[in-house]
Amino acid sequence: MNKLTKKVVVVGGGIAGWLTAGRLAAKHKSNTEQGLTVVLVESPNISAIGVGEGTWPTMRSTLIALGISETDFIRECDASFKQGAKFAKWVDGSEDDFYYHPLVLPQGFSQGDLAAHWLARQGQTGAKSFSEDVCFQESVCENGLAPKTIRTPEFAAVANYAYHLDSVKFSVFLQKHCTEKLGVTHIIDNVTGVNSAPNGDISSVSTENNADVTGDLFVDCTGFSSLLLGKHYQVPFKSCSDILFIDTALAVQVPYDEVDSPIASHTVSTGQEAGWIWDIGLQHRRGVGYVYSSKYSSEAQAREVLAKYVGDKFSSLTVRKIPIVSGHREKMWQNNCVAVGLSAGFLEPLEASALMMVELSAQMISEQLPQSRDIMDIAAKRFNETFLYRWEKIIDFLKLHYILSKRTDNAFWIDNRDAQSIPESLKEAMALWQYRAPADHDFTSNNEVFPAASYQYILYGMGFKSDYSQNTYALDNIDFAQHQFAQNKKLTDKAVSTLPKNRELINKIIEFGFNQI
């Protein structure tokens, strides 16, 4: 039996559900007669988790693919610009301990190994941090500047950027766009059961007040409950709590002091005794949260840490406690069911990977939507290979931040460096990088998530030294290096003197909007 894929049922709303439904509907013309039917069933009484307020630059191409205007998105989702992350107190915990993981590649990255030259300059007077010396974006962030001007067309950048957004507002915004423009059918009802076909596929889901919702492909966006993939198919969950120790988040929404307070244009992640605090600037408030390991801190201690970070306002704020189970399902696609979002897996939000994984999943499902049931198992196999690889790579990259720390103030940091807790793949990479910088040939899969540049920013930002003493010829092209360092200085001066403050640009977008060209 070769059943055609004519109808996709997305179970669960939230950003994962709406982004997947939207990408499917946009690509497969659900607003036309011949197009794919996309139905989203959402429970009326489950509220969105509302974590995941930081994105990757991929969100720009996602919004473009959905046909969304950047101006509308920024106005309606309380969104602002994000130009990477500032990691404070991760290396030794001192007051001036910080480094950046910006979104712009190191200067001249595709032309030569600037990292080797940067390492050679260390110890000289006036030597700057890696991110400052090779990338102009650090200065843009330190000065609170936006990544573009009001004259830059929408989605175009002067400095590569992503967003900070209000995830609840974004979800509502996507829902409106998907149902009004893209032809997604919205059913608000509780799913009460999953009905199987003889071949083990899901034939339909039962609902409280509507008829059974049949479909050819089911997308599980039911969050942590993982209703279809986890509960129905019993696909095991692969925990990585032996590698990443964070298991709890305490989150607050912090109002600004003034209506016009500056908005940071980067995420700030500050190391604490048993974890770290995220700090994300939206238009009307900051999102702040302490993610920690309950093995190394009591909730009372954690609250104290968060209170100290937030300051006087803390006592008037509502603290939300969110459990974090780090890990992912052993596969994401089983039969005719694929999980996207928290139902597939979750990791601490250190590098804002949650929404990025939703975007990549939604993209791959829509791009490679199997036309019929007989080829669906092939699509499923490839999807599983791709995403298992991605989960592993993200786990490695997050762990990298911990193994390079020199903090000794709490067993949390010391235990994180225990060889037992470090994946073999990361150990191997670290062995290679003892003698050279991470390079593109270390990352040869089409499914890579973090490029070599990101590894360089973390390694050298945290004081790692690659030893080039056995191949000093890597430093022969000194003219190249001097030119690139000078070029970076020039770009830094230009960016700092021409870019507006982040808040100023947001205000202009609200008043005037971007042009499309």
């Binding site: 009001i150 004259r151 830059t152 008043e511 005037f512 971007f514 042009n515 060209i517």
Partner: protein, 237 residues
């Protein structure tokens, strides 16, 4: 910053404006904002382009007078050498400003007292000895009114061009007679390919709203880039 003062027939009874000096306000402008009503006059000598306002990012129509910042190739021997002087220059040294709260719908005419054209000695008086407006001042007010109305028409045209996606960035590389080269950036014009693909209904609506001829005037005016290159080459040789 210019110091703007509301015009008043007591304070400015003896104020005069030297018309020979008014055009100096445009001496160092490479781009001058223009309104739709003057397109036809401008197209005879100047390229009419779109640029983005630095503060708002919104499109504005401009006549192009030079290739570099502060370069007006039509300003030669301390005089404007063009056949037509844009309204934005001719209205100098006057401005309109929304007046205070209680007369919030009224527009006040203001004078830039720092202008080199303003004195009590030489030029056209604003008022006669009885304090009545001179014919010169009346013509100034007519110019200002035309500019204000023009801005509204500009907005309609820009909204139409934007909604039909008829604007495209202009990219021109020019090499002058002395082999120096320039790359024009930040300028936009009509996308003729897109214009040619509009359907009958869209063309008819452009025609009926009177915007189609303005669009064509803009396209034709681009030929005046050669006039500018010629002027530039003359200044270099």
């Amino acid at each position: 910053m210019a110091s703007l003062v509301a015009v008043d027939n007591k304070k400015h009874l003896n104020t005069k404006v030297d018309l020979n000096k008014v055009e100096r306000h445009g001496a160092n402008l490479a781009l001058i904002p223009v309104v739709l009503a003057e397109f036809i006059h401008l197209a005879v000598q100047y390229p009419i382009v779109l640029t983005k306002n630095g503060d708002t990012g919104q499109f504005v129509f401009s006549a192009m007078l030079g290739f570099e910042e502060n370069e007006n190739l039509f300003w030669q021997q301390a005089q404007w050498q063009g056949l037509y002087v844009p309204l934005q220059i001719r209205r100098q040294p006057f401005f309109v400003e929304m007046s205070d709260e209680k007369h919030h719908n009224e527009l006040a005419v203001c004078l830039n007292t720092d202008s080199p054209a303003v004195s009590e000695e030489t030029g056209q008086a604003l008022f006669d000895e009885k304090g009545d407006e001179s014919s010169y001042f009346k013509s100034v007010k007519a110019n200002l009114t035309q500019l204000l109305l023009g801005e509204k028409e500009n907005k309609v045209l820009i909204a139409t061009l934007t909604s039909m996606a008829l604007i495209k960035p202009m990219s021109i590389d020019i090499t002058f007679i002395n082999q120096s080269a320039t790359k024009l950036a930040g300028l936009y014009t009509i996308d003729e390919v897109k214009l040619a693909t509009l359907n009958n209904e869209q063309i008819l609506s452009l025609h009926q709203s009177g915007l189609l001829s303005a669009i064509h005037t803009m396209i034709i005016s681009l030929g005046q880039i050669h006039t500018l290159i010629d002027l530039k080459n003359k200044s270099l040789s």
